[in-house]
């Protein structure tokens, strides 16, 4: 089922006047799509999700689920009448009920109420989806974090909702379990073909799970794209920074060449980069390079490569890579080296990177 959000705003009354949590959010989630709202805390991603759930009433704007307008200036459908399932950050497993009763709760709200054996069958089915059927009779307080997360998921799915809302469901788990459940969750919703809205502040989670990602900041969507496109072609400094690590430096656009590559003057020398159209020669720009796109060597001869000269300030061995801090003039750079590299701290070296790995952004 499709979810369409347009012109969504939400204003809270704060101690010092009004707080504008959402300032015009628009997006559309396609049926069966896994759509992620990514952003730092306070960016409005949770508020957006809560507006879709009906837990917050939008100040203005429209929300459509399927063909039904669930929120607009004249309509507000309460959460209990929306075709949704939701997993909360804290899981919100009711401590006075068993696992079974927790999962059965949504079914018991349906009118007409299903027969007892029908409820039992569907609860068992939902618990089986998350491999929790053996713990059906356990009281909720006796569950581990991972188990609570599974029960919350079963409860969200049991009434076969059209839309699944997930509010940072993995953030309360330890790193290893999080990685495991990330895959499991993605696999499960893909198999069920349910439209999923996912909220997280963890860029790796977002990249790994989503069909599309919207990066939010200060109550607005900055960029919306597929994980790969977002990573390779960020449209702003914030997005580039928030999704992965990145090196920045300032420059001036000199001229555009035929091949889509342009020459950019920086304080470390001339660079050749990919340019987004619409920038005039003479414009101030940011050049960005991902640490993994940078290669280091002791000699400076590489064809069709940008080359800077620098000095390794620090090299930290992380197991899978060596994290290098390099000083180029006054500018610090980060680069990721293979662990087989024999470069050492204090060495004068050359940095090479492919023009296609350089993204040029408008200066803010």
């Amino acid at each position: 089922m499709r979810v369409k959000v347009s012109g969504l705003t939400k204003t809270f009354e704060a101690v010092d006047g009004l707080a504008h949590a959402l300032q015009g959010v628009d997006f559309e989630v396609q049926p069966s799509e896994f759509y992620t709202l990514l952003g730092p805390s306070g960016c409005g991603k949770s508020t957006t999700l809560r507006c879709i759930a009906g837990l917050e009433r939008p100040t203005s704007g429209e929300i459509i689920i399927g063909d039904r307008v669930v929120a607009s200036s004249s309509t507000f459908v309460p959460p209990n009448e929306r075709p949704i399932g939701m997993v909360f950050q804290s899981y919100a497993i009711w401590p006075h009920m068993t696992v079974f009763k927790n999962v059965a709760f949504p079914l018991k709200q349906a009118r007409p109420r299903p027969a007892a054996n029908e409820i039992k069958r569907r609860v068992t089915e939902a618990l089986a989806l998350v491999q929790m059927e053996h713990l059906a009779d356990r009281p909720a307080p006796y569950l581990s974090g991972g188990q609570q997360q599974r029960v919350a998921l079963a409860r969200a799915l049991v009434s076969k909702p059209q839309v699944l809302l997930l509010d940072e469901p993995l953030s309360n788990l330890d790193a290893k379990l999080r990685e495991e459940l990330r895959l499991e969750l993605k696999e499960l919703v893909r198999r069920l073909g349910i439209t999923t809205l996912y909220v997280t502040h963890d860029q790796i989670e977002a990249l790994a799970m989503s069909d599309r990602i919207a990066v939010m900041l200060n109550g607005k969507i900055l960029q919306e794209s597929t994980p790969k496109d977002l990573y390779l072609h960020p449209k702003s400094k914030f997005v580039a920074q928030f999704v992965g690590q990145v090196n920045f430096f300032e420059g001036t656009l000199a001229e555009e060449s035929a091949s889509g590559l342009a020459s950019i003057a920086t304080e470390h020398g001339k660079l050749s980069c990919l340019v987004t159209p619409g920038l005039a020669p003479g414009a101030k720009v940011w050049v960005t390079v991902r640490p993994e796109s940078i290669a280091l060597s002791r000699d400076g001869n590489r064809q069709e490569m940008n080359v800077f000269k620098g000095k390794i300030v620090k090299a930290i061995f992380l197991g899978d890579i060596i994290d290098c801090q390099i000083q180029v003039g006054k500018q610090p750079f980060r680069a990721k080296l293979p662990v087989t590299s024999d470069l050492a701290e204090g060495e004068e070296i050359y940095l090479h990177f492919n023009p296609k790995a350089c993204v040029v952004l408008q200066h803010d």
């Binding site: 759930a53 009906g54 004249s74 309460p78 209990n80 009711w94």
Partner: protein
Amino acid sequence: MPASTKTAAFTPSRVFGLWSQVRSNLFLVLVTAFLLLLILVPLVRLILSSFQLGHPAMPEGWTLQNYIAAYALPTFYRALGTTVVLSAVSTLITLAIAILFAWLVERTDMPFRNLAWTLILIPMAIPGVLFALGWALLLSPKTGTMNIVLRAALELFGVRLSEGPLNIYSLGGLIFLDGLRGVTTIFLMIVGAFRMMDPSLEEAARVSRASPAGTFFQVTLPVLLPAVLTAGMYEFVSSMESFEAPLAVGLPAGIFVLSTLIYFTVRLQAPVDYGLGSVFGVTYMVLLLFLLWAYRRAVRYGERYTTVTGKGYRPRVIALGKWRYPALGMFLIYFVLTVLAPFAILFWASLLPSYRPPSLEALGVVSLRNYWEIFSRPHFLAVVGNTLVLMAIAASATMLLAFFVSWIVVRTKVRGRALLDSLLFLPHSIPGIVVALAMIMAYLTPPLSYLKIYGTLWIVTMGLIVTYIAFGTRLMNSSIIQIQKELEEAAYVCGATSTKTLLAITLPLLFPAFAAGWIWVAVHALRAFSIPLMLASKRNEVFSVLMWQYWSDGDVALASTLGVLLMITLIPLTLLMRRFIVQVSGQQS
């Protein structure tokens, strides 16, 4: 209330907007209206009545006459002076004992600390009026058992007295009673500070080369001072409100405090003077509101430099050496003075046909007859019935109102909810005697007089709800806050309506707190004294009022019998309830 705010899909006009506003908040509107009726109307009525002469139902126009008369009365200033002196001196006594006990329990190696804790908690279960009556029997000048013993002892030294040497019917007697009564509460208020004080503060002083004594006076005491001072102010305010001891042993000696002066003016003197009583009531209320305001400021100021952290470590323990057992002995003496001695003498009195001091010959007429006899007394069963009904209704109504109001205050964003919350706290700061006086004024005069509840059990119930609702909402507020909001939201997105959510999720999760609060109110309603007495009529007498009737009619035996029955019920109930409440809310009751 996310689930109930559904607006129709056509263009709302302004009027429609207002109506839907009222309709979606109908519940809030109703609850608020009821609480206004319950709390604010009587208080306003009391203030109005203080400007009227004659019977409040047939006033003779507006006048300042009452104020002029009241403030010209020497009795009023004597009562005010007595109240202040009594409160100040008894507060000092209470503080000294409570600090000593808290220090012994938390910072020394005194043996049987758990026993000491229990000994210090039990006095809470003894209603103030029984405590005072017990001591009246022990220390009345002629027949007081302790005086008889003391006289016999003095005779050995050749001193012959016909009465005394001690007299409970005196200011000294009042100070003694009030000073001992407050210890439990103040102990509970400061013991946490003694326990939680960060030992590294003291250790830092020690390694900075301070002596043990220097450490105590330069670090320990100043650090604990805010806690001790606020507890002292609290005790001073509570003493200002005390009514039971001044009634039982002050009035017979002609010693008035403000609370008994009001009781005397509107219930005992002939003819009663409501106008004058109202002036006393308003003055008393303003005085206490001011004191409580000062107290709140002090608490906030004290919290600013809280060095008492929440970690549960037991700080450095001081070895008492040979004083370990004498220290424990002080707790035993305290227990004897506050519980055992009054209980024993009341029990003794309950075994006799008519009171006489304990002696061998009196032992011959001892029997349990009074305990049978009491059932054949007129009204007795009706009074028990009244008491049970009062307990059940006051407890249920208080906790339900508190639950709804707290839910509104904590969970919704309705405008004015903070005001509602503070409105409910107001009666907490007003002495019971003034609440009762305000109820009298409100329900004797139109329009509320048409409800015809003056003199019924209902007015007593309402008086009790007004005084206990502050406790109820405190308990419910903190419990609802502890229930994660997402637990309710999860129910909404699972398809439950807000009513269904309240019933299926919120209330079951709150049940322990709700039950604890219910029991708390029920127990307090059972022992309530000042409000039922002020509002008493032939039709609405409850247990404690009947007991007082017997006592003031001179029937000490039957009064004692009722007193013993009450104590036996209250001691286990109070201890259980306390444990329960501390468990569910982490609050001290």
